[in-house]
């Protein structure tokens, strides 16, 4: 993919294709944690995201469909999640309800092992993946940063692999960049870095490592100034993507001067 022919102009035409759909933004903004719908509205608009996660929860006439209406108004595609599910059974039911409610067969599959770490339970995740793929869903699988598990999920037919950079909401960044690189290098479906992003450099690193997109929520919605952080994330994802495509220089153990050694002034020669 890296090419010397790639120009900045091309970056404006660098579509992200996932589950048969073409998106122009590689930033997926989750809606969780926003203090108000007004703040969320601004953050979504500034981020330029076209896809955003939502949870599936009890309907209340008091808050009738506010988030759904907000997304429809902004023309943002909803990606329902199964957050809060601890078993494959609950996750499958939630996905089926989401499909009915939001008229989409896309689902961000989260099956959590425990409330302390919020890390995925690999066995329940795999079981739910098999059931949902068989039921025609496009599964975006939230998984540990484990290359072996990512391979299993890919073989099971997921639409995208979503490895965690760090625990949900921790803001610890990407704890194991090597694993993320390994997952990327073996993937033939999009890899979306999900969870753990704390600030813009984390999002840029994810893209530099070769991820196809970044999903984040808390880093924006819980920032002191959410719309400003949304702008930072938008630019970071774009910068990281450009750096990945540009091809970084190899790391060296010793310095390598960038100024020429030839043509030095006579009086200075030999002083080093």
């Amino acid at each position: 993919m890296e090419s010397q022919e790639f120009t900045e102009l091309d970056l404006n035409n660098d579509p992200f294709v996932v589950a048969g759909r073409t998106l122009s933004s590689r930033l997926i903004l989750g809606t969780g944690g926003a203090t108000s719908l007004t703040t969320l509205d601004s953050a979504l608009t500034i981020s330029g995201t076209e896809l955003t996660t939502v949870a599936i929860r009890h309907f209340s006439s008091a808050g009738a469909g506010n988030v759904y209406e907000l997304l429809q108004r902004n023309n943002v595609i909803p990606l329902p999640n199964t957050a809060g599910c601890f078993t494959a059974r609950d996750a499958v039911l939630t996905a089926q309800l989401a499909r009915e409610a939001l008229e989409t067969d896309w689902v961000k599959l989260e099956v959590i092992a425990d409330e302390h770490t919020l890390l995925p339970d690999p066995l329940e995740l795999y079981s739910a993946t098999e059931q949902l793929v068989a039921d025609g869903f496009q599964v975006f699988a939230y998984t540990n940063d484990d290359p072996a598990m990512a391979q299993r999920l890919q073989d099971a037919g997921v639409a995208a692999i979503m490895p965690a950079g760090a625990p949900i909401g921790s803001g610890l960044g990407i704890l194991n960049p090597h694993n993320i690189s390994t997952i990327v290098s073996r993937a033939n479906v999009p890899v979306i870095l999900d969870a753990g992003v704390g600030t813009a450099s984390d999002a840029a690193l994810a893209m530099e490592l070769g991820c196809d997109a970044v999903l984040l929520a808390s880093a924006v919605t819980r920032a002191h100034n959410a719309p400003l952080m949304a702008a930072a994330m938008r630019d970071a994802v774009r910068a990281g993507r450009a750096a990945r495509l540009a091809g970084r220089i190899p790391r060296r153990d010793t310095a390598l001067a960038s100024s020429p050694a030839e043509g030095m002034m006579q009086t200075l020669v030999g002083e080093f």
């Binding site: 989750g30 809606t31 969780g32 944690g33 926003a34 969320l40 996660t53 939502v54 949870a55 599936i56 929860r57 009890h58 309907f59 209340s60 006439s61 808050g63 009738a64 469909g65 988030v67 759904y68 209406e69 997304l71 429809q72 909803p78 329902p80 999640n81 957050a83 039911l93 089926q96 309800l97 989401a98 499909r99 009915e100 409610a101 939001l102 008229e103 949900i168 909401g169 969870a195 999903l215 929520a217 808390s218």
Partner: protein
């Protein structure tokens, strides 16, 4: 009138016997629904329903008559990562 008790989103609710799921949801979301459970005003509903832990597709809301002891969950999109 004969009444029944159901559990709706974890709360006990009393209903008139013979109420269909379509009628019940229409009242909850404040939208008039046609026989296919589509909003008469053309808007999207953004909700889904499960009865006793199984999804009831919108096309079956009209024929699904609620019975005493049924547990109904009505869900929609909420903020979430």
């Amino acid at each position: 009138m004969t009444s029944i008790n159901i559990i709706f989103n974890s709360q006990q609710v009393q209903l008139e016997a013979g109420t269909s799921l379509r009628e019940f949801i229409s009242a909850q979301i404040g939208k008039e629904l046609d026989a296919d459970s589509k909003a008469v005003d053309g808007s999207k509903l953004g909700v889904a329903a499960a009865v006793d832990g199984a999804v009831v597709p919108r096309s079956s809301w009209n024929s699904k008559v609620l019975e005493d002891g049924h547990s109904i969950e009505l869900v929609t999109a909420a903020q979430g990562g």
